[in-house]
């Protein structure tokens, strides 16, 4: 039986985390959650092979989601990285582009768009790895 796709969700708002967890579990993902950047970094460094990381941008402090993205980039194999935010600016969007973030969504996030983007990114990575 193929393993479930493993997703790390990072947000400091419990209600958002629970909603997204429910949505992605319904989509067939196995979901781990973190409520801070520090918690997310611990999970990223403990050897789990995440297929994707979805993180809020502003949590303990502004733009700290970029640190989650930076840490996720160093994980091998590199997971797909998605950032969502209600506070997009030219500097943080530029930083996300330069860093190679795969997808950026602005709040209010359209869930169907997020699911579709994530499925596409994970499939693309799987194809690239198999080449």
């Amino acid at each position: 039986m193929p393993r479930k796709r493993l997703l790390l969700l990072v947000d400091d708002e419990t209600s958002i985390l629970q909603t997204l967890q429910m949505v992605f579990e319904n989509e067939g993902y196995q979901v781990l959650t973190a409520q801070s950047c520090a918690e997310a970094l611990n999970l990223l460094h403990n050897g789990q092979k995440f297929d994707a990381v979805i993180t809020d941008l502003n949590m303990e402090r502004e733009d700290i989601g970029l640190e989650v993205a930076r840490a996720a980039q160093r994980v091998k194999p590199r997971p797909a990285i998605v950032i969502y935010t209600g506070f997009a600016s030219v500097p943080n969007s530029r930083a996300a582009l330069d860093m190679g973030v795969d997808y950026m969504a602005h709040k209010p996030v359209e869930i169907s768009e997020l699911i579709s983007a994530l499925n596409r990114l994970i499939s693309k990575r799987a194809v690239e790895r198999s080449r």
């Binding site: 997009a88 600016s89 030219v90 969007s93 530029r94 996300a96 582009l97 973030v101 795969d102 997808y103 950026m104 602005h106 983007a117 693309k124 690239e128």
Partner: protein
């Protein structure tokens, strides 16, 4: 055919898509200067045809081909078809939050304002390509 000829590197191919012939011409000159063979297209059908016939290492696409923003999906297709290619988008205005978000979501590596000289844009792209190449060379040299 000599051994030297068979080991020669294939030409580096670039695609430039823009509706303005003047812009195409300046990018073509700048890319030729950097050693690229450049294919130009003024519209989407010509760009798609070129993509079926060549393997591109670099692409520069206007964010506006027929109407505002229709160049972004082309950048996205280029990224999917040529995943290792450097896809850059030129936009008529200074890149704002939405342009940067489009660049991320369509897989473009960089977005430049059209008013920047083509030689400067190409210089920046080639410098970034060299960084990536050097990184992969040093990785392959690690035993």
């Amino acid at each position: 055919m000599t051994a030297k000829a068979t080991s020669a590197r294939a030409p580096r191919l670039a695609l430039v898509v823009h509706s303005d012939v003047g812009v195409l011409s300046s990018f073509q000159s700048a890319l030729t200067e950097k050693g690229f063979v450049t294919i130009v297209a003024r519209d989407l059908p010509t760009a798609l045809l070129a993509m079926t016939q060549h393997y591109f290492e670099l692409a520069v696409v206007s964010s506006r081909l027929g109407e505002g923003g229709d160049g972004w999906p082309l950048a996205g297709v280029l990224h999917l078809v040529f995943p290792r290619a450097f896809v850059a988008v030129v936009s008529p205005d200074e890149p704002d939050v939405l342009a940067l978000q489009s660049a991320i979501n369509y897989g473009a590596r960089e977005v430049f304002e059209l008013s920047r000289p083509a030689a400067e844009v190409v210089g920046s792209i080639v410098a970034q390509l060299e960084i990536v190449e050097n990184r992969s060379t040093s990785k392959s040299n690690v035993h």
